[in-house]
């Protein structure tokens, strides 16, 4: 009995002389692995300097948490782009699927993870803010973050061609999307089940909110005809209007306000000491 306790005490005593494994976080920060999935940024096209997005809406279609709103349009040159591109970081789960499916390699997961703000509306970013996010990433790493179809900047051995090594004819904006604009409406507060049923039975519009995309499909398939309810009106709205409603309700955030780390930034240089992660450091003696 005493032997075991003494063994335990000896072990804790030995740990007094081992190296600390924690970091002084706001002052120093660990280096992330290249694939780290932070906030989604937009890649700048190296020729035009604008975003590479063509507004196809695949990212919004695949997003499991409905955090992207895309309305396609054309720019002054006549190339397709996103007229409205909204990214709601407050809803984002950082799964990286948008980046994976982007056919234009226009999105990238940056290493930005300090995303706290005082106002939730600041978490809604537009294309410009997302561009600045990836710019900041480029500043930090000092290299272009154009990488083919990977959820994050990667160090994977790639057989893929870099985007700018591709045939110039297929580089940007050449694929026309036939997809209607996808997007969700702003969300508010849930209402009671009864009220909800009453409203949609009476055909009253629900100003905010979305139904599952297969709402009508489910009803047609599984409900008898008399108990089916019409599709609430807001779904029939044009996506443009939807985005406008959304913009009206929410201010678009400024990425420069999403900088919680600057409060800890002692030298005022906007840079923190990055600590390289060692290999099994904790086992070594101090």
């Amino acid at each position: 009995m005493i032997k075991e306790i003494a063994q335990g005490l000896g072990l804790t005593l030995r740990h007094f002389f081992k190296k600390n494994v924690t970091l002084q976080y706001p002052k120093e920060m660990r280096n992330f692995h290249p694939r780290f999935r932070g906030a989604v940024g937009m890649v700048r096209d190296q020729e035009t300097g604008k975003e590479r997005c063509v507004g196809c809406g695949l990212c919004a279609a695949v997003c499991p948490s409905n955090c992207l709103t895309v309305v396609p349009g054309t720019d002054d040159v006549g190339l397709r782009n996103a007229k409205i591109y909204l990214y709601d970081m407050g809803r984002c789960v950082f799964c990286g699927m948008c980046v994976e499916v982007c056919p234009e390699l226009a999105l990238v997961m940056t290493h930005e993870f300090e995303l706290s703000v005082y106002d939730r509306s600041q978490l809604i970013l537009d294309a410009g803010a997302m561009l600045r996010l990836s710019d900041r990433e480029k500043e930090r790493t000092g290299e272009s973050i154009e990488e083919p179809g990977f959820p994050a900047v990667t160090d994977a051995p790639s057989t893929f061609l870099k985007h700018n090594q591709l045939d110039p004819r297929i580089q940007r904006g050449k694929f026309q999307s036939h997809q209607p604009a996808l997007g969700t409406l702003p969300y508010g507060y849930p209402m009671k089940y009864e009220e909800y049923l009453k409203k949609i039975r009476e055909g009253k519009p629900l100003v905010q909110g979305t139904l599952p995309p297969n709402f009508q499909e489910i009803q047609n398939k599984y409900l008898p005809e008399d108990s089916r309810v019409p599709m609430p009106k807001f779904v029939e709205n044009q996506a443009d209007t939807a985005a406008e409603v959304r913009i009206k309700h929410m201010t678009v955030g400024d990425i420069n306000k999403v900088e919680s780390h600057k409060y800890y930034d002692e030298d005022g240089q906007g840079s923190k000491k990055r600590v390289e992660l060692g290999k099994g450091e904790w086992a070594d003696k101090k």
């Binding site: 209402m191 409203k199 629900l206 905010q208 599984y222």
Partner: protein, 153 residues
């Protein structure tokens, strides 16, 4: 179909005859559909028969098919530790089904959850309360006609 499961299927046919509505196989998994009247008996038989020996209940759940007369499918997954085979039993019901708590204690919470989510009433359940949703919750969330989203201004 595994040999041991063929024996099980055969025995079930012998024992319950017309109350077995069909035995299907998909992806090496055997499903037997029974009438809800023998729901309890079939499980007791499957547990006690030495050739079946399904001593463990893995799961009990339900699925909602709102267009049918008996809209719910009650589904149980069984496992035999000694025979190393699995089995699935299904029965349709409109609302009520006998509880399996006397057969397996596992069924207690699994049935409570199914009641909570679908509103299926398990007769003979010792403690049929809501378990995951709040006690005063309206509606049964996993029914197909339950709205997924609904928002007010």
């Amino acid at each position: 179909m595994k040999e041991s499961l063929q024996v099980v299927a055969q025995k079930l046919q012998e024992k319950f005859g017309g109350n077995i509505l069909g035995i299907t196989e998909f992806r090496d998994e055997v499903t037997v559909r029974v009438k809800k009247t023998i729901w309890f008996e079939v499980h007791q038989f499957l547990r006690d028969d030495p050739d079946c020996a399904f001593n463990m209940m893995i799961d009990e759940t339900a699925a909602d098919y709102p267009l049918r007369d008996e809209r719910f499918d009650v589904i149980s997954h069984l496992l035999s530790l000694s025979k190393r085979h699995r089995f699935r039993v299904k029965a349709s019901t409109s609302e009520k089904i006998p509880s399996l708590c006397p057969v397996w204690k596992t069924a207690n919470w699994l049935e409570r959850e199914t009641y909570d989510m679908f509103g299926i009433i398990y007769e003979g359940h010792p403690d049929l309360r809501r378990i995951l949703m709040a006690e005063n919750w309206e509606g049964f969330p996993l029914r197909k006609d339950y709205p997924t989203e609904g928002y007010d201004i």
